[in-house]
């Protein structure tokens, strides 16, 4: 008798709890069209730079909704470094979003697995774009994504420090030699410790691009990390740290995320996304200039955001409308002022200079983009991310230990990659 009472009480609790949950959590909207009849809801999977960005993107989507009654846009967010986890599970679970922001390193994979819709036969307004932009969304000649913003890194420099060291401001067409000379004058030591570095961190990718080198050739068929140009670029980067001491070692810079802002480095790589943060927090005068020229001129690696349409979408027409809006439509006009994203259409070329918090020489960026001086150096082969991850430790090693054996080490890893991935 007592046993049954206890058991009953327990079961009752369980049932109660269960029913509470099932009622309290019936917020499961069906993911397709809901609510008002005929309304289509598009889901777009995004990452964001910060929560403010999410809100502002939402404003752009609201404009689209105004222009297109009957279509609603819902943002689904995933953090940048867990983006693939979310997209993979959604796709495998049959729950794919209609549109998705793309990380270039994953683009090749997505295409080769047929996850993205082929846009080649859609109406694409080719002439609206600035040069080189459309090709950023192509794989093997077919269009799988349209670009929303495309810009490049430039070099930001601390004007006050240049003045104090008596160095002339860099010119738009300066070279590696000019850069090195300036960096050396701007590196200040006190009591045996460097208190001011000339350069915060010269990204390997940019070095390679400026000298005409790279990890893998643009057509994705050759390993070029051991070409003379690449070797020269990597050696230069390592020497900045170990020979000329104008750039901190990993040990010296570990944990410091912004030496430039903190007044410890005179120059740093800067993209337009850094402008507002720098403008708000810098306690000194600053400006930007194109990256110094190696053998390939004052070019920079293209830095951009492709957006694609999921091949499993139930609303291809509406999805493409949204994509157009973002890539060549009104979205392009709005994005400069709201999220400070660099537009890709020719008609908005000049808007870059009027962007909020744009530095004086922002025009140089417009020129770079208008002249097509950005290089897409991450070919869309599926294995690209893996290849880079295998080469990177070698480069880190060279940066750590000096460039003496650079040639040998790079040749070694290049041959390894050739063998493993069947490249030339």
């Amino acid at each position: 008798m007592r046993k049954k009472k206890g058991l009953g009480g327990l079961l009752f609790t369980i049932v109660l709890a269960l029913s509470l949950i099932l009622t309290g959590c019936s917020g499961s909207d069906s993911e397709s069209a809901s609510g008002e009849s005929g309304d289509v809801t598009l889901r777009i999977l995004v990452w964001n730079n910060n929560p403010e960005g999410t809100k502002l993107e939402g404003d752009i989507f609201k404009e689209f909704e105004k222009e297109n009654p009957g279509i609603k846009v819902k943002q689904v967010y995933a953090p940048y470094d867990k983006f693939n986890d979310k997209f993979l599970t959604m796709s495998a679970g049959g729950d794919q979003p209609d549109l998705v922001w793309l990380q270039p390193s994953a683009f090749g994979q997505f295409v080769s697995k047929g996850v993205l819709m082929d846009l080649s036969d859609k109406e694409i307004k080719e002439d609206e774009y600035m040069p080189n932009v459309l090709s950023l969304g192509q794989v093997d000649g077919k269009q799988y994504a349209l670009i929303r913003d495309a810009s490049a890194f430039m070099l930001g420099y601390n004007k006050d420090m240049f003045d104090a060291a008596g160095v002339e401001y860099p010119k738009d067409d300066w070279t590696w030699a000019d850069f090195l000379a300036a960096a050396q004058k701007l590196t200040v030591e006190k009591n045996g410790k460097t208190v001011q570095f000339g350069m915060e961190n010269f990204y390997t990718n940019e070095l390679l691009v400026e000298n005409g080198g790279g990890f893998v050739s643009q057509d994705g068929k050759e390993v070029i990390i051991d070409s003379p140009e690449s070797i020269e670029a990597i050696k230069f980067g390592a020497d900045l740290i170990n020979k000329y001491h104008v750039q901190p070692t990993t040990a010296q810079s570990q944990g410091l995320s912004n030496m430039f802002l903190a007044g410890q480095a005179a120059m740093k790589m800067m993209g337009p996304w850094d402008w507002s943060d720098t403008a708000k927090n810098a306690t000194f005068k600053w400006d930007v200039v194109p990256l110094p020229a190696g053998k390939a001129g004052n070019v920079a690696a293209a830095s951009y955001l492709p957006i694609g349409i999921g091949s499993g979408t139930k609303h291809p027409e509406e999805a493409y409308k949204l994509l157009q809006f973002l890539s060549t439509g009104k979205g392009q006009d709005l994005q400069v002022d709201t999220i400070s994203a660099v537009p890709v259409v020719k008609r908005n070329e000049d808007k870059i200079e009027t962007m909020a918090n744009a530095p004086e020489n922002a025009k140089a960026l417009s020129t770079i983009l208008a002249e097509g001086r950005t290089v897409m150096n991450a070919p869309y082969i599926p294995e690209y991310a893996e290849i880079v991850s295998k080469i990177q430790p070698v480069i880190d090693n060279i940066n750590l230990n000096g460039s003496k054996d650079a040639e040998k080490q790079l040749k070694e890893v290049a041959d390894q990659i050739r063998k493993e991935f069947g490249l030339k």
Binding site: R2, K3, G6, L7, L10, T13, I14, A17, L18, L20, I21, L22, G24, C25, S26, G27, S28, D29, E31, R43, W47, N48, N49, N50, P51, E52, G53, T54, K55, K74, Q75, V76, Y77, A78, P79, Y80, K82, D85, K86, L88, T89, A92, G93, G94, D95, G255, L256, S257, N258, M259, L261, A262, Q264, G271, W273, D274, D277, K280, N281, T283
Partner: protein
């Protein structure tokens, strides 16, 4: 059995010489010293967390990094609420976590009792299987599990986060089994003679004697669920459903991390955990366990 005069602890203590008392005091002093020293060590990161949360943005990145801010600024705390729907996240976290704790405690105690004190055929086999479920890295079962929930139509609800907890958690089942096995058989036998069945023994003997371990399970389960971001990340699509652990990730952008608001948000997230733990740990103190006589 003879009744021998029992030397009570009290009578023994009364006879202690002075030197022993001094030794005791030294011991206590040393214990305090150790506790305080280690506390500083353990408290340090938390202080740094708070310190960073009240620093304005540019000081957060200063070099070398400072512990306490030069300028106190509560802007970060305001930003946490204006930038994201923090209040909603809090509510969501509470709902999910409380449900999970209930489910975990109820189901895990039942299952653990079976494994601990009912010798059924095949028990060892299932026990090994139970442990085995914890040995396969969840990264490779993430997708198929998602597919199951997707077929059930539970994506974008709290159900995938809550329902599995009602089916027991291997970790806690194992833990409770270890505790349940320390309760003497004699107690069970006397209850059996009183007419209790297995469930009666469970409800009237095992559970009351296992309060510390059950509290532990509840506490740990609470902590883990509160801080879990992976499951909410995968299953929740609407911002309005986000839990705290997932919401805070938004401060870690693709290109820059907003340390100030992130630390402020972390403080908000940790606070309830601290309070709950502080309250809960009192219940670790169990009264003198009755062993039902040694005769």
């Amino acid at each position: 059995m003879e009744v021998t005069p029992v030397k009570t602890a009290a009578s023994v203590k009364a006879k202690k010489p002075r030197s022993l008392k001094k030794g005791r005091r030294l011991e206590k002093g040393f214990t305090y010293f150790l506790l305080i020293a280690l506390s500083i060590l353990f408290l340090f990161p938390f202080l740094w967390l708070i310190g960073t949360s009240v620093k304005p943005e540019n000081e957060a990145m200063a070099f070398p990094p400072t512990l306490l801010p030069k300028n106190w600024d509560l802007a970060n705390y305001k930003e946490v609420f204006t930038l994201v729907d923090f209040g909603q996240y809090y509510l969501n976290s509470v709902i999910v976590t409380v449900c999970v704790v209930i489910g975990t405690v109820v189901s895990s105690t039942l299952v653990a009792y079976g494994f601990a004190r009912i010798k059924g055929k095949g028990r060892n086999f299932w026990f090994v299987l139970l442990l085995g479920t914890m040995m396969l890295p969840p990264q490779v079962t993430m997708i198929p599990v998602y597919m199951i929930f997707s077929k059930l139509g539970w994506v974008n609800t709290f159900l995938p986060l809550i329902v599995p907890s009602f089916f027991g958690s291997a970790y806690f089942i194992f833990l409770l089994r270890q505790f349940f096995k320390t309760i003497p058989k004699e107690l069970e036998e006397s209850a059996y003679l009183d007419g209790c069945g297995a469930f009666g023994i469970f409800w009237r003997i095992i559970i009351p004697l296992s309060v510390p371990s059950i509290i532990t399970v509840a506490l740990l389960s609470f902590m883990w669920t509160w801080n879990d971001f992976l499951n909410p990340l995968i299953y929740l699509n609407d911002d309005s459903k986000y839990t705290l652990a997932l919401g805070i990730l938004q401060f870690k952008g693709a290109l820059l991390i907003q340390w100030g608001p992130m630390m402020a948000a972390s403080v908000f997230i940790i606070l309830p955990l601290i309070i709950i733990f502080f309250v809960g740990q009192k219940y670790f103190v169990q009264g003198i366990a009755t062993t039902g006589g040694k005769g």
